[in-house]
């Protein structure tokens, strides 16, 4: 029973992270019709920057301040996005979508090595944050309190994103542009600015995922590439361009993964990809998607 609770909590924890990555991917696709292959790498970048910042500051500041440093990774990634979109993506909007896809692959290669250059090949941790919160008992076992914080942040982020997209003026603009770019432009919306901000937001969310996971899980090279595939699975199941889909998909994938690792470790990933393939066959737009 206690194992079940632990695994349940783990699933939600993992789902929170996955949701953040997938939501960003979905947002960027929904608004800009771009599949960003470097998206996982942005997640990794967020993890690295946050781990690095916390590592640098750990000796000299107290724990509460260190917590405030958590979002640093997300901000850094968003800033990178603000530079990348106008410089690299904008010139390609009139070309077939395959070109940008290829460009993001190139971006992935570049960013992976940028991270290696900046942060070296060794894993970076921010474990001090996790340790500081200690653990709480679950039926005789101990569970890290930090994970609950992650779940909380994930839920908060989901709420904020939802509110932003569906309740703010910019959210309306975002949705309008995603549905009909030409129409939006004809109505006087600055599509270029919308794209730039949408991309930055998508990057921010991915970076946030990396930032909040790193105290629990060290930043390692290659984490982005692995994360991207899972994010893809989430988005395929949940639906490209859908926020609710990203959430449901993340929960589904997370639970299947956790159960799989527990009971069928060899094929848990294979099962996941197969589920994605099956969803693509039955309902290509995903459970909630709009293409």
């Amino acid at each position: 029973m206690d194992i079940v609770i632990i695994q349940f909590l783990n699933s939600i924890f993992y789902a929170a992270i996955l949701f953040l990555i997938a939501a960003g991917l979905s947002l960027i696709y929904g608004v800009m019709r771009i599949v960003n292959l470097a998206h996982g790498t942005f997640y990794a970048l967020g993890a690295y920057v946050t781990a690095w910042a916390i590592g640098k500051a750990a000796g000299s500041m107290n724990i509460a301040v260190l917590f405030l440093l958590l979002p640093v990774g997300a901000v850094a990634v968003a800033a990178a996005g603000l530079l990348i979109e106008p410089a690299l993506f904008r010139p390609l909007y009139n070309r077939p979508e395959e070109y940008i896809l290829l460009l993001t692959f190139g971006l992935l290669l570049i960013l992976e090595d940028v991270m290696r250059f900046l942060f070296g090949g060794m894993p970076l941790t921010a474990g001090v944050l996790m340790d500081s919160l200690g653990s709480f008992p679950v039926f005789g076992l101990k569970y890290p309190t930090y994970n609950l914080l992650v779940i909380g942040i994930g839920a908060l982020a989901a709420l904020c994103l939802w509110a932003f997209v569906y309740r703010t003026k910019f959210g309306v603009i975002l949705r309008a542009t995603s549905q009909d770019r030409r129409m939006a432009s004809a109505l006087g919306l600055d599509v270029r600015r919308v794209y730039m901000l949408a991309f930055a937001l998508g990057c921010f969310v991915a970076g946030l995922g990396g930032a909040i996971v790193v105290p629990a899980q060290a930043a390692v090279l290659g984490m982005g590439v692995d994360a991207l595939i899972l994010a893809f699975v989430v988005v395929v199941i949940g639906g490209l361009g859908s926020l609710e889909g990203a959430m449901i998909g993340a929960l589904l994938v997370s639970f299947v993964r956790t159960a799989g690792i527990q009971f069928f470790p060899e094929i848990e990933l294979a099962v996941l990809y197969l589920i994605a393939a099956v969803v693509l066959l039955i309902r290509p737009t995903g459970l909630f998607g709009k293409v």
Binding site: V35, L102, L103, F105, G106, V114, V225, I229, I267, A276
Partner: protein, 343 residues
């Protein structure tokens, strides 16, 4: 009008293509006599990737489908050969090719059947997902596939040409590299010739029609799904053959060759050479192979180097090397009083 390097252009004739191809084949046949063993090996890899890219581009350049899962077929070929070594004790290259092609054919038929119902981004993601299924199987079922340690495919116990050529005895490695180069070259020439006929056949024209205008193709009576499926299988077979040829040279097969970034490399090769031309992907594969080898040797950050090349390519040179060269040649032709048609 554009020269024979552009798919679909008129004026293509067997004679002219042979005239252009023959000197290249001669050069390729002579080159190993002039370079050392390492360079020969490098060029062999280039030819092998050329076959892979050639197959890949049937889908992209000619049918308009961007597959992000071709590492699956390459890996299938490689693992098939490796399994034959490990579990059947087979040493004959011809048997590797036969067995590998059969396995690749079955899987590409299944994968392809599923994938060709979809286009553009969904096609890409589906091919990616399916290739990842294969990757996890290779990775996780380590007692069958050797996991990350992989399976060795030694050249010493291998034979070519139904046993006529073997590699036991002294200086076997040099002999292997030398003989294997010509073996691969022979298959390379055969593959290029075969693909050339395919893309210039009525079937090839139908594929291009499907690429250009699916609706009109349907209204001409061309069964879109069936043609794409056939193209998918041919494409997978070529890339699978490349995998089979690759593994004895590499000596080892690991799941990395099935992991999705290798699919990205195959795409990279085709784009580098120019996916809108017949020879582009071949040129791209050979150039990419040199590029990657020298990048890996020169810098720890070779991935970034390749990434920068790709970004520049996409932004400045979308028609790739061959496209740029033929544009240059066309412009020269126009300057000296050529035809009035624009490219």
């Amino acid at each position: 009008m554009m020269n024979l390097l552009q798919p679909g252009a008129e004026g293509v004739s067997v004679g002219r293509s042979l005239a252009l191809a023959l000197p290249v084949v001669v050069v390729l046949a002579v080159v190993p006599q002039l370079i050392d063993s390492y360079q020969t090996q490098l060029l062999t890899y280039g030819l092998i990737f050329g076959i892979a890219a050639l197959g890949f581009n049937l889908l992209l350049g000619y049918t308009g489908l961007l597959s992000f899962g071709h590492s699956a077929y390459f890996g299938l070929g490689a693992y098939a050969a490796a399994f034959m070594v490990r579990y059947l004790g087979v040493g004959s290259m011809e048997l590797y090719i036969l067995g590998g092609l059969v396995i690749t054919a079955v899987v590409t038929a299944a994968f392809g059947f599923v994938c060709v119902g979809y286009t553009r981004i969904f096609f890409g993601i589906l091919t990616l997902a399916l290739s990842q299924v294969l990757w996890t199987l290779a990775y996780k079922f380590f007692w069958v596939t050797g996991g990350t340690d992989g399976i060795r495919v030694p050249y010493r116990t291998m034979t070519l040409l139904a046993g006529a050529v073997d590699f036991s005895g002294p200086r076997s490695y040099q002999r292997f590299i030398g003989a294997y180069y010509y073996y691969v070259l022979g298959l390379f020439v055969a593959c290029v010739a075969l693909m050339w006929v395919i893309v210039h056949s009525p079937f090839g024209k139908a594929l291009q029609a499907i690429r250009d205008n699916e609706t009109r193709a349907r209204f001409l009576g061309i069964g879109i799904r069936r043609y794409r499926w056939i193209a998918f299988m041919i494409s997978g077979a070529f890339t699978g053959l490349a995998g089979i040829l690759w593994v004895p040279l590499n000596g080892l097969v690991t799941p990395e060759i099935v992991y999705w970034p290798f699919s990205g490399e195959i795409v990279f090769m085709s784009v580098l050479g120019g996916f809108r031309s017949f020879t582009g992907p071949i040129v791209g594969a050979i150039v990419f192979n040199y590029l990657k080898t020298y990048a890996v040797a020169s810098t720890e950050y070779w991935q970034a180097a390749l990434g920068i090349v790709l970004v520049i390519l996409v932004m400045a040179l979308p028609t790739g090397i061959v496209g740029a060269v033929s544009r240059l040649a066309w412009r020269r032709g126009a300057e000296s009083g050529g035809s009035g048609d624009q490219p």
